[in-house]
């Protein structure tokens, strides 16, 4: 779907993005993770050409994105940013319906689509005629996401989308977002510096530092088989919590003793939930988890 080929971006002679290559499959969610200054946002913005690369190519469905007319390119790529950027002089309905309007959809169709998205994102249809200033931060970000999805774009780019929200709202929206049906088949690139967010939302994680990819792979791969010291240190700080949030029943089953083999939960249940569901077995589960973590690092 998206293919990044040897892309470099120089600012004043210094490479902010340094010869990056990777590809993202259709329907996949790739999280670009890194500290500030790692080049992750620059990389993201080169996909919809808010920033033009100094060299290299970005192919979308096999077509070089620099050959597509700028407005056309951007209208098929949803874009969500941390500051949301809702138009304060537009109503919620106008904000969400903006791209369909620019694309020349019919009024009825736009109205229907807006209502559909409002419901999908758990918003109240009564807020449609209101202005963004009357909404809470969480509601505004939901509208921001709805706006990005309005024309059903095949690709959505998200730049620290939940960064400005308080931790509880953030966590809730993250979970809602992960399970959003409307984006099941959407290819997504999400930039964040939040490790937990990366693990929660990403099919794969691309960890960047100083303009280069340090490691690209699933959360498990990055946590348990770090490619270098940087990756190791990056996840080390709270590795136990991270391990808990990436390992599921399937991963620890081989290490469970006979007595616990009868646990009836689903294979994909996370270790923490597993312990809650089977309090009597928690000691065995914890033991198996410890074994599994140790062996995964080998």
């Amino acid at each position: 779907m998206i293919e990044v080929k040897n892309v470099t971006k120089l600012y004043a002679g210094k490479a902010v993005v340094d010869g990056l290559s990777f590809s993202i499959g259709k329907g996949e969610t790739l999280v670009i993770l890194g500290t500030s200054g790692s080049g992750k946002t620059t990389m993201l913005k080169m996909i919809n050409r808010l920033i033009e690369p100094s060299s290299g190519q970005i192919l979308i469905n096999g077509v070089d994105n620099s050959n597509v007319k700028l407005e056309e390119l951007r209208r098929q790529i949803g874009y969500v940013i941390q500051s949301i950027g809702l138009f304060p002089h537009y109503t919620i309905e106008q904000n969400i319906g903006l791209i369909p309007t620019l694309l020349g959809w019919e009024k009825d169709k736009i109205q229907k689509r807006v209502l559909e998205l409002i419901k999908l994102l758990g918003l109240d249809p009564e807020m449609m005629p209101r202005k963004p200033e009357n909404l809470s931060g969480g509601q505004q970000q939901r509208v921001g996401i709805a706006r990005a999805l309005a024309a059903d774009p095949p690709i959505v780019l998200l730049d620290e989308p939940f960064g400005a929200l308080d931790p509880i709202t953030r966590h809730q929206i993250q979970l809602e977002f992960k399970n959003l049906e409307a984006i099941l088949n959407t290819t997504m690139v999400l930039v964040t510096h939040d490790v937990v967010e990366a693990i929660t939302l990403g099919d794969r994680i691309c960890l960047m530092d100083e303009g280069r990819i340090q490691q690209i792979g699933t959360a498990k791969e990055l946590i348990f088989r770090p490619a270098n010291d940087f990756v190791k240190h990056f996840f080390n700080a709270n590795s136990l919590q991270l391990a808990l949030s990436v390992l599921s029943k399937k991963d620890i089953t081989p290490y469970l003793p006979e007595v616990a083999s009868g646990i009836s939960s689903d294979d994909n249940t996370m270790v923490l939930s597993l312990m809650e569901e089977h309090e009597d077995m928690s000691e065995h589960i914890l033991h198996a988890f410890y074994q599994a973590s140790r062996n995964m690092k080998k």
Binding site: N48, L50, L70, E71, E72, L73, R74, R75, I77, Y79, I81, Q82, S83, I84, G85, L86, F87, P88, H89, L98, I99, L102, G144, R147, A148, L157
Partner: protein
């Protein structure tokens, strides 16, 4: 109470003219504002797109704002002549700064996140501007337009000085003819106009987003209406025009009397004294009322028309001194006695030319002249002033004031301060009457007709010669105001009509009667 009744009476008598001036004023202001809005908005948008230009464009409009309005109007005359066009251009230039600056700032201040989201979603530059930046910057832009309007209402009063009309006509005429009601009749509507429009525009600003469409349509209609009115107006330009300062047009010894005396059939426009000669030289007008000792008569090669039916009274210059000051410093009498009859018409004209043509400062010119005449000029006085000298705002008055200062400081122990350039006879005379200044250079003819406001009968009872007029004003000013006329300096700087030498030669006009004949035969 009586004063208020008088004022209301004055307004009633002059209501037609007042209405006309108010409309003229509003028209000048609005048309300039519209042009400034169109161009200022475009410039403001341009410099948000082409960043390299922003500092030079903002620098330019800032610089324009610092030019004193009367100087800007002066620059306009050689380029655009007199009347409404240069006035509108000047107003336009003044309105530019707030509009350009606020457009630029308004667009710049749109939250970067909103612009990024808009671009990221695929809005073209045009859509970004029209759908996002301009609507969001509108309240700030509108505030700029509002500021520009208030500035323009103020500056437009000055447009009366270059014959563009407006409420300034009443204000300046009132200032020069010692008529407070007239000043107020111009100043109050101008102030009200600024306040009322500021209020209305403020209300519009609060609801700017919903009002912008009807407003744009309304403005469009007004522009079309005004432009056709303007084109219609411009078609009726007379072939031969007189340009006179408002003081001359409305004072008793000025144009009204002259017109009757010689039966002149002349189209006239009001012009500021300092700009009048330039307007004549640049063929914007064909005859002006100058002063017979003006240095520019020679410089600009002008012909002074002879007052063959003796209309103008003599105007012998000297110091008009407050009685109290003379009592305190009687030595002043001696100083002015030294200067009595020492300056001829020719010498004064040359002296004026040293300033107007040779660009000497009035102070230097006065020093040079007094030194040549054998006076002491080198005293340096410091410390608190004993005497304050005022002057009106034209060259000769400046030079005389400086001359008085030098003489008093050299021939007495007194220290002198100057407060020069009062914008009219009324202002400087009031200052003397209130004790804000101690003396200023004045002319006997002006004393007769403006300060004493001599009636038709009184004037007829006096012979128009040097001594009769001097004796009359000496006695009357002492009786009525407790002021003293010093001995005349010698020259007679009377009002005189003047034309360009070539044109006067071509039309064979030597006297005012010739001019009257020529105009009748046209």
């Amino acid at each position: 109470m009586q004063a208020i009744r008088d004022f209301i009476g004055f307004i009633g008598e002059n209501s037609a003219e007042l209405l006309e001036q108010t409309l003229e004023h509003l028209w000048l202001t609005l048309i300039a504002l519209m042009i400034a809005t169109a161009i200022g908005l475009s410039l403001g948008i341009l410099i948000t797109r082409v960043r390299g230009l922003s500092s030079s464009v903002i620098g330019f409009v800032n610089a324009v704002q610092t030019i004193p309005s009367i100087a800007l109007l002066g620059f306009m005359i050689p380029l655009l002549g007199i009347g409404e066009v240069p006035a509108i251009v000047a107003l336009f230039l003044y309105a530019l700064l707030p509009i350009v600056r606020n457009t630029f700032a308004g667009i710049e201040e749109v939250e970067p996140g909103i612009k990024e989201a808009a671009r990221g979603m695929g809005l073209s530059n045009r859509q970004l501007l029209l759908k996002v930046e301009l609507p969001l910057a509108l309240p700030v832009i509108f505030a700029g337009i509002r500021t520009a309007f208030v500035i323009n209402v103020g500056v437009a009063t000055l447009c009366a000085l270059i014959a563009a009309g407006g409420l300034g006509e009443f204000i300046f005429r009132g200032l020069t003819t010692n008529n407070t009601y007239m000043i107020l009749a111009g100043a109050i509507p101008a102030a009200l106009m600024a306040l009322v429009f500021d209020f209305i525009l403020g209300k519009i600003q609060q609801h700017i987003l919903s009002l912008i469409k009807p407003l744009a349509v309304g403005l469009g209609v007004i522009i079309v209406g005004f432009s056709s009115f303007y084109l219609f107006q411009n078609n009726q330009k007379p072939a031969f025009t007189g340009g006179f300062p408002s003081e001359f047009i409305y004072r008793g010894d000025g144009y009204q009397g002259l017109k009757a005396h010689y039966d002149l059939q002349l189209e006239t426009v009001e012009l500021e004294i300092g700009l009048m000669y330039q307007a004549l030289k640049n063929e914007k007008v064909d005859v002006i009322s100058g002063f017979s000792t003006d240095g520019r008569i020679e410089t600009f090669n002008l012909r002074v028309l002879e007052d063959d039916k003796q209309y103008f009274p003599p105007y012998h210059a000297t110091a008009l001194v407050s009685g109290q000051t003379l009592e305190k410093y009687p030595e002043l009498r001696e100083v002015f006695a030294r200067l009595g009859d020492r300056i001829s018409d020719k010498k004064m004209a040359q002296l004026n030319n040293r300033v107007d043509k040779d660009k000497l400062s009035p102070k230097k010119a006065a020093e040079e002249f007094l030194a040549n005449e054998g006076f002491k000029t080198d005293a340096v006085k410091e410390g608190e002033a004993d005497i304050i000298i005022g002057s009106k705002n034209f060259t000769e008055n400046y030079i005389l004031a400086q001359m008085f200062k030098i003489l008093i400081e050299n021939y007495t122990s007194l220290t002198v301060e100057t407060k020069l350039g009062f914008g009219g006879t009324k202002l400087v005379f009031d200052a003397l009457d209130n004790g804000e200044i101690d003396l200023y250079p004045e002319y006997t003819g002006t004393g007769l007709l403006v300060l004493l406001n001599a009636s038709e009968e009184e004037r007829k009872s006096i012979q128009y010669d040097k001594l009769s007029v001097l004796n009359y004003v000496k006695k009357e000013i002492r009786d009525r105001h407790g002021m003293e006329w010093m001995p005349p300096l010698g020259f007679n700087n009377t009002f005189a009509l003047m034309m360009r030498e070539e044109q006067a030669e071509e039309l064979n006009i030597k006297t005012i009667s010739d001019l009257s004949e020529y105009l009748k035969n046209q």
